[in-house]
Protein backbone atom coordinates (compact mmCIF):
# COMPACT_ATOMS: atom_id res chain seq x y z
CA UNK A 1 0.00 0.00 0.00
CA UNK A 2 1.50 3.27 -1.08
CA UNK A 3 1.56 6.46 0.92
CA UNK A 4 0.18 9.56 -0.75
CA UNK A 5 1.04 13.05 0.34
CA UNK A 6 -2.16 15.03 0.76
CA UNK A 7 -1.42 18.65 -0.12
CA UNK A 8 -4.23 19.84 2.16
CA UNK A 9 -3.49 17.71 5.21
CA UNK A 10 0.25 18.10 4.51
CA UNK A 11 0.80 14.52 5.55
CA UNK A 12 1.68 11.22 3.92
CA UNK A 13 -1.42 9.12 4.31
CA UNK A 14 -2.22 5.51 3.43
CA UNK A 15 -3.58 4.79 -0.01
CA UNK A 16 -6.84 3.27 1.25
CA UNK A 17 -7.94 6.70 2.44
CA UNK A 18 -7.92 7.88 -1.18
CA UNK A 19 -9.84 7.30 -4.37
CA UNK A 20 -8.59 7.77 -7.90
CA UNK A 21 -10.17 10.44 -10.09
CA UNK A 22 -8.74 10.05 -13.58
CA UNK A 23 -6.55 12.36 -15.60
CA UNK A 24 -5.99 15.85 -14.22
CA UNK A 25 -6.22 19.24 -15.86
CA UNK A 26 -9.19 18.47 -18.08
CA UNK A 27 -11.40 21.46 -17.43
CA UNK A 28 -15.06 21.28 -18.27
CA UNK A 29 -15.64 23.68 -21.18
CA UNK A 30 -17.31 26.92 -20.11
CA UNK A 31 -19.80 26.75 -22.93
CA UNK A 32 -20.27 23.13 -23.95
CA UNK A 33 -22.89 24.13 -26.50
CA UNK A 34 -20.21 25.95 -28.49
CA UNK A 35 -18.22 22.76 -28.98
CA UNK A 36 -18.39 20.55 -32.05
CA UNK A 37 -19.26 16.93 -31.48
CA UNK A 38 -15.64 16.03 -32.07
CA UNK A 39 -14.41 18.56 -29.51
CA UNK A 40 -16.96 17.33 -27.01
CA UNK A 41 -15.90 13.75 -27.64
CA UNK A 42 -12.31 14.73 -26.94
CA UNK A 43 -13.33 16.36 -23.67
CA UNK A 44 -15.44 13.39 -22.63
CA UNK A 45 -13.40 10.43 -23.64
CA UNK A 46 -9.93 11.09 -24.96
CA UNK A 47 -7.33 10.55 -22.27
CA UNK A 48 -3.57 10.22 -22.11
CA UNK A 49 -2.13 6.85 -21.24
CA UNK A 50 1.54 7.61 -20.78
CA UNK A 51 4.26 5.25 -19.83
CA UNK A 52 5.87 7.39 -17.20
CA UNK A 53 4.72 10.58 -15.57
CA UNK A 54 0.97 11.13 -15.49
CA UNK A 55 -0.90 14.04 -13.93
CA UNK A 56 -4.02 12.71 -12.33
CA UNK A 57 -6.67 13.49 -9.77
CA UNK A 58 -7.02 11.86 -6.41
CA UNK A 59 -9.45 12.48 -3.62
CA UNK A 60 -8.58 12.14 0.05
CA UNK A 61 -12.08 10.88 0.52
CA UNK A 62 -11.55 9.32 3.94
CA UNK A 63 -9.42 12.20 5.16
CA UNK A 64 -9.98 15.86 4.35
CA UNK A 65 -12.26 14.81 1.47
CA UNK A 66 -10.50 17.17 -0.98
CA UNK A 67 -9.76 16.45 -4.60
CA UNK A 68 -6.19 17.27 -5.51
CA UNK A 69 -3.75 16.62 -8.31
CA UNK A 70 -0.74 14.36 -8.42
CA UNK A 71 2.00 13.43 -10.80
CA UNK A 72 2.61 9.71 -10.69
CA UNK A 73 4.98 7.53 -12.63
CA UNK A 74 2.88 4.80 -14.19
CA UNK A 75 5.91 2.53 -14.45
CA UNK A 76 7.05 2.64 -10.85
CA UNK A 77 3.73 3.70 -9.28
CA UNK A 78 5.62 6.46 -7.49
CA UNK A 79 4.18 9.89 -6.88
CA UNK A 80 6.62 12.63 -7.74
CA UNK A 81 4.48 15.52 -6.51
CA UNK A 82 0.97 16.30 -5.30
CA UNK A 83 -0.63 19.74 -5.42
CA UNK A 84 -3.88 21.48 -4.74
CA UNK A 85 -6.76 21.70 -7.17
CA UNK A 86 -6.43 24.77 -9.32
CA UNK A 87 -2.65 24.92 -9.11
CA UNK A 88 -0.52 24.46 -12.20
CA UNK A 89 1.38 21.26 -12.59
CA UNK A 90 4.59 22.02 -10.67
CA UNK A 91 6.93 19.97 -12.83
CA UNK A 92 5.81 21.72 -15.99
CA UNK A 93 4.98 18.42 -17.67
CA UNK A 94 2.01 17.82 -19.91
CA UNK A 95 -0.60 15.05 -19.93
Amino acid sequence: MILIHCPYCEQDRPEIEFTYGGQAHIARPHDPAALTDREWETYLYIRANPRGLHAERWRHIHGCARFFNAVRDTVTDRFTVTYKTGEARPDGGVA
Binding site: M1, Y8, E10, P14, E17, C64, A65
Partner: protein, 176 residues
Protein backbone atom coordinates in the same frame (compact mmCIF):
# COMPACT_ATOMS: atom_id res chain seq x y z
CA UNK B 1 -33.94 -14.54 -7.53
CA UNK B 2 -31.02 -13.27 -5.50
CA UNK B 3 -30.61 -14.90 -2.14
CA UNK B 4 -28.87 -13.28 0.77
CA UNK B 5 -25.50 -14.86 1.34
CA UNK B 6 -25.34 -16.70 4.68
CA UNK B 7 -22.39 -14.55 5.66
CA UNK B 8 -24.43 -11.41 5.21
CA UNK B 9 -27.16 -12.87 7.33
CA UNK B 10 -24.83 -13.58 10.19
CA UNK B 11 -23.34 -10.11 9.78
CA UNK B 12 -26.84 -8.72 10.17
CA UNK B 13 -27.09 -10.26 13.64
CA UNK B 14 -24.43 -7.91 14.97
CA UNK B 15 -25.42 -5.10 17.29
CA UNK B 16 -23.56 -2.37 19.10
CA UNK B 17 -22.84 -3.28 22.69
CA UNK B 18 -24.78 -1.41 25.33
CA UNK B 19 -22.23 -1.99 28.08
CA UNK B 20 -18.46 -1.55 28.11
CA UNK B 21 -16.53 -4.49 26.68
CA UNK B 22 -13.54 -5.02 28.92
CA UNK B 23 -10.57 -7.22 28.17
CA UNK B 24 -7.05 -7.14 26.91
CA UNK B 25 -5.15 -7.33 23.67
CA UNK B 26 -1.80 -9.14 23.86
CA UNK B 27 -2.11 -8.85 27.62
CA UNK B 28 -2.69 -5.11 27.65
CA UNK B 29 -6.01 -3.95 29.09
CA UNK B 30 -8.54 -2.29 26.79
CA UNK B 31 -12.06 -1.07 27.39
CA UNK B 32 -14.42 -0.51 24.50
CA UNK B 33 -17.47 1.53 25.48
CA UNK B 34 -20.38 3.15 23.77
CA UNK B 35 -19.86 6.90 24.13
CA UNK B 36 -22.51 9.13 25.62
CA UNK B 37 -24.82 10.80 23.09
CA UNK B 38 -23.36 13.93 21.56
CA UNK B 39 -24.51 16.90 19.58
CA UNK B 40 -22.77 16.70 16.20
CA UNK B 41 -22.53 19.36 13.52
CA UNK B 42 -20.97 19.56 10.13
CA UNK B 43 -19.62 23.10 9.66
CA UNK B 44 -18.48 24.39 6.30
CA UNK B 45 -17.16 27.69 5.06
CA UNK B 46 -14.55 29.15 2.80
CA UNK B 47 -13.79 31.82 5.38
CA UNK B 48 -13.09 30.40 8.85
CA UNK B 49 -13.34 33.83 10.48
CA UNK B 50 -16.81 34.35 9.13
CA UNK B 51 -17.94 30.94 10.31
CA UNK B 52 -16.35 31.39 13.72
CA UNK B 53 -17.90 34.75 14.33
CA UNK B 54 -21.30 33.66 13.03
CA UNK B 55 -21.23 30.70 15.42
CA UNK B 56 -19.64 32.68 18.21
CA UNK B 57 -17.00 30.00 18.62
CA UNK B 58 -13.29 29.77 18.07
CA UNK B 59 -12.30 27.28 15.40
CA UNK B 60 -9.09 25.26 15.24
CA UNK B 61 -6.60 26.53 12.67
CA UNK B 62 -4.75 23.50 11.48
CA UNK B 63 -6.33 20.60 9.64
CA UNK B 64 -6.30 17.65 11.98
CA UNK B 65 -6.51 19.61 15.23
CA UNK B 66 -9.25 20.14 17.80
CA UNK B 67 -10.32 23.23 19.74
CA UNK B 68 -13.13 23.16 22.27
CA UNK B 69 -14.86 20.16 20.76
CA UNK B 70 -14.50 21.27 17.17
CA UNK B 71 -12.12 19.49 14.81
CA UNK B 72 -10.86 20.88 11.55
CA UNK B 73 -11.24 18.00 9.11
CA UNK B 74 -10.38 19.83 5.91
CA UNK B 75 -9.69 23.27 4.47
CA UNK B 76 -13.37 24.24 4.56
CA UNK B 77 -14.73 21.64 6.92
CA UNK B 78 -15.08 21.44 10.68
CA UNK B 79 -16.85 18.87 12.81
CA UNK B 80 -18.33 19.80 16.15
CA UNK B 81 -18.64 17.11 18.76
CA UNK B 82 -20.41 18.81 21.63
CA UNK B 83 -22.34 17.94 24.73
CA UNK B 84 -25.69 16.41 23.87
CA UNK B 85 -28.35 19.02 23.38
CA UNK B 86 -25.97 21.79 22.38
CA UNK B 87 -27.61 23.68 19.55
CA UNK B 88 -25.70 25.78 17.05
CA UNK B 89 -27.41 28.57 15.16
CA UNK B 90 -28.61 27.31 11.79
CA UNK B 91 -27.36 30.29 9.86
CA UNK B 92 -29.06 31.49 6.76
CA UNK B 93 -28.05 33.99 4.10
CA UNK B 94 -24.35 33.57 4.82
CA UNK B 95 -21.73 31.73 2.76
CA UNK B 96 -21.52 29.00 5.38
CA UNK B 97 -23.18 25.65 5.96
CA UNK B 98 -24.25 24.42 9.38
CA UNK B 99 -25.90 21.01 9.40
CA UNK B 100 -27.06 19.04 12.41
CA UNK B 101 -25.75 15.50 12.07
CA UNK B 102 -26.22 14.47 15.70
CA UNK B 103 -27.97 11.22 14.78
CA UNK B 104 -25.72 10.35 11.85
CA UNK B 105 -22.91 8.82 13.89
CA UNK B 106 -22.34 6.86 17.05
CA UNK B 107 -19.33 7.30 19.26
CA UNK B 108 -17.16 4.66 20.92
CA UNK B 109 -14.38 5.14 23.36
CA UNK B 110 -11.40 2.82 23.29
CA UNK B 111 -9.20 3.22 26.30
CA UNK B 112 -6.48 1.49 28.23
CA UNK B 113 -2.90 0.49 27.70
CA UNK B 114 -3.87 -1.63 24.68
CA UNK B 115 -6.20 0.94 23.09
CA UNK B 116 -3.81 1.87 20.33
CA UNK B 117 -3.15 -1.79 19.49
CA UNK B 118 -6.89 -2.43 19.30
CA UNK B 119 -7.30 0.36 16.76
CA UNK B 120 -4.17 -0.44 14.79
CA UNK B 121 -5.64 -3.82 13.91
CA UNK B 122 -7.65 -2.08 11.22
CA UNK B 123 -6.54 1.54 11.10
CA UNK B 124 -3.53 2.16 8.87
CA UNK B 125 -2.42 5.38 10.57
CA UNK B 126 0.56 5.51 12.90
CA UNK B 127 -1.59 6.26 15.94
CA UNK B 128 1.42 6.59 18.22
CA UNK B 129 2.03 9.86 16.42
CA UNK B 130 -1.54 11.08 16.77
CA UNK B 131 -1.47 13.10 19.97
CA UNK B 132 -4.43 14.19 22.08
CA UNK B 133 -5.73 17.40 20.60
CA UNK B 134 -5.74 16.02 17.10
CA UNK B 135 -8.56 14.42 15.15
CA UNK B 136 -8.91 13.02 11.68
CA UNK B 137 -11.10 11.04 9.41
CA UNK B 138 -9.54 7.73 8.41
CA UNK B 139 -10.65 4.13 8.03
CA UNK B 140 -10.86 0.95 10.05
CA UNK B 141 -10.47 -1.64 7.29
CA UNK B 142 -13.27 -0.68 4.87
CA UNK B 143 -15.23 1.53 7.24
CA UNK B 144 -14.75 5.27 7.51
CA UNK B 145 -14.20 6.52 11.03
CA UNK B 146 -12.98 9.60 12.84
CA UNK B 147 -10.27 9.15 15.43
CA UNK B 148 -10.04 11.67 18.25
CA UNK B 149 -7.25 10.83 20.72
CA UNK B 150 -8.41 12.13 24.08
CA UNK B 151 -5.46 10.96 26.18
CA UNK B 152 -2.25 9.05 25.44
CA UNK B 153 -4.14 5.78 25.81
CA UNK B 154 -7.72 6.79 25.04
CA UNK B 155 -9.52 7.45 21.78
CA UNK B 156 -12.96 8.63 20.83
CA UNK B 157 -14.15 7.01 17.60
CA UNK B 158 -16.93 8.36 15.41
CA UNK B 159 -18.61 6.01 12.98
CA UNK B 160 -21.73 6.31 10.88
CA UNK B 161 -24.63 4.62 12.57
CA UNK B 162 -25.15 1.73 10.17
CA UNK B 163 -21.48 0.74 10.24
CA UNK B 164 -21.33 0.84 14.02
CA UNK B 165 -22.35 -2.81 14.71
CA UNK B 166 -19.63 -4.11 12.42
CA UNK B 167 -17.03 -1.78 13.90
CA UNK B 168 -18.00 -2.61 17.47
CA UNK B 169 -17.55 -6.32 16.84
CA UNK B 170 -14.43 -5.91 14.73
CA UNK B 171 -12.88 -4.05 17.67
CA UNK B 172 -14.32 -6.28 20.39
CA UNK B 173 -13.17 -9.47 18.65
CA UNK B 174 -9.56 -8.88 19.67
CA UNK B 175 -10.29 -7.59 23.16
CA UNK B 176 -10.44 -10.81 25.15
Amino acid sequence: MLEIAPLAKSGADLAVGTKPHIGAIIGRPVTLSPAAPHSRWSLRARDPALLGSALGRALPDRIGTVLDGIARLGPDEWYALLEAGTALPVLTGLPVSVVDVSARALGFTVSGEGARLALERGCPLDLARLAPGSATRTVFETVEIQVWPTAPDAFHIEVWRSFAPWLWHALAEAIV
